[in-house]
Amino acid sequence: MTEDMRQFKQVTCTINGVRRTTMVDVRASLTDMLRNDYRLTSVKKGCEVGECGACTVLIDGEAFDSCIYLAVWADGKDILTLEGLEGPSGELSDIQQAFIDETAIQCGLYSPGFIMTAKEILDTGKLYTDDELRKLLSGHLCRCTGYENIMKAVKKTMYKRLGKKYPD
């Protein structure tokens, strides 16, 4: 496409609690917009075809692969990325800390996506079985950790938030 034929659209949305506006190329994915326009580099580019979950963000509270979501569709939406989980002085959230404590991270490429889905799961305030958790996390790949520690991090945080004893 030549320069002069390019189509742009103004997109206003809430990102990590702040209202933001920018002009986006209609061909951009939400990953493109978040990384390039807003420098939110926790949103990773893995497969870019919806298979791996590295690009996961919450849109109006639901987990989406931002790589297969057009940036123009974000207009009017409430978007949360990993950066939005930090406390006011940069403190880590409980689920981020749990990923560290349980060594649920190695190379880190897929961790932000996992944590965003975990955030949605934990915010429901429900107690899930292992099978349910596996299903809820099944939209993510990780080639380093083998998933066990990720499961543990999510599960421990779930029990902690519910004030229940973690079953060993």
Binding site: V72, S138, G139
Partner: protein
């Protein structure tokens, strides 16, 4: 960046129809979980797109006055599974679409896209076939209704004419009251996997739960498009709820299905799956209906 020639965003169904007529070469994009992948693969690269994603009027599930359940074409899989009307009356559909891809795919994928792509493996299709679903299509001449079996014309081809889009999927009261169904998806993995074969069985039992008053069997990947096992249904209607009837289903469905070899599975393996899955889905559908099969 996607290789898109131009993007036109519809702000109403009428506007979508107008855009489709103005740009006859353009492709509709709903959630885009098929379209955007095909753009990446190159198959749909450089095309004009008409986005209907913003049409909230096509989202949600409603029960109409005559009991018909109307599912807006843009309703995402996760919203279908979570919907109270679906949970109460069409739980089999909520369970079936909960097996699509993974959670994020179920956030973006729509039931309209799942049926308009014309793919035989679509997880909603076999269940919609076994529910006698009716497709509502809106176009320049207004609305027309097409039974889902006739909506599929061939692999990747559905009955959508110039200027038309799918606006709803309808399930009539007579198709769901008294019925219980079960869907089985066979794949190599439990998630993020396209069905090797899918089978959805709906049954309506007699009051004493001893007789199969009606049965509807839908398949995915048992032929080039989803299909109904009409022959088996005719044989089984009126039979006793029993282990013999179940075995009979397993034998008779072989007449109805015509799967082929593919890299996912061989033809004879798929035939075996079609038979076994129908029997298992029947058992579950009977159980959900309050019946029992003595083994």
């Amino acid at each position: 960046m996607y290789d898109i020639k131009a993007l036109y965003e519809a702000d109403s169904v009428q506007h979508a129809v107008q855009l489709l007529l103005e740009h006859p070469e353009a492709v509709i994009i709903a959630g885009g979980s098929d379209v955007l992948i095909k753009i990446r693969e190159g198959k749909l690269a450089g095309r004009e797109l008409i986005s209907i994603y913003g049409l909230d009027e096509l989202r949600g599930i409603r029960k109409e006055e005559d009991g018909t359940i109307r599912i807006g074409s843009l309703t995402s899989f996760r919203h279908i599974t979570a919907d109270p009307i679906i949970r109460k009356h069409l739980s089999v559909l909520g369970e079936a679409v909960d097996m699509v891809g993974g959670p994020q795919i179920r956030s973006i994928g729509t039931i309209g896209g799942n049926t308009c792509n014309g793919v035989t493996s679509a997880d909603s299709a076999s269940t919609l076939f076994s529910l006698d679903a009716v497709i509502e299509i809106t176009g320049p001449d207004g609305i027309r209704l097409v039974p889902i079996e006739q909506f599929y014309l061939g692999p990747g081809k559905v009955d959508l004419r110039a200027g038309e889009l799918q606006t709803s999927i309808l399930i009539a009261k007579d198709s769901y009251i008294g019925y219980k169904g079960h869907y089985i998806k066979y794949g190599m993995r439990n998630a993020m996997e396209i069905a090797t074969t899918g089978c959805s069985v709906n049954v309506k039992l007699s009051r004493d739960k001893k007789t199969v008053r009606d049965i509807r069997i839908g398949y995915g990947v048992a032929g080039p498009v989803p299909l109904r096992a009409r022959h088996t249904e005719d044989v089984i209607r009126g039979c006793a709820v029993s282990a013999e009837t179940r075995s009979r289903i397993g034998e008779e469905v072989r007449e109805d299905v015509h799967p082929r070899d593919s890299w996912r599975a061989a033809k004879d393996f798929r035939e075996h799956l079609c038979s076994t899955m129908a029997m298992r889905a029947f058992t579950e559908a009977v159980r959900k209906s309050g019946g029992e099969i003595d083994d």
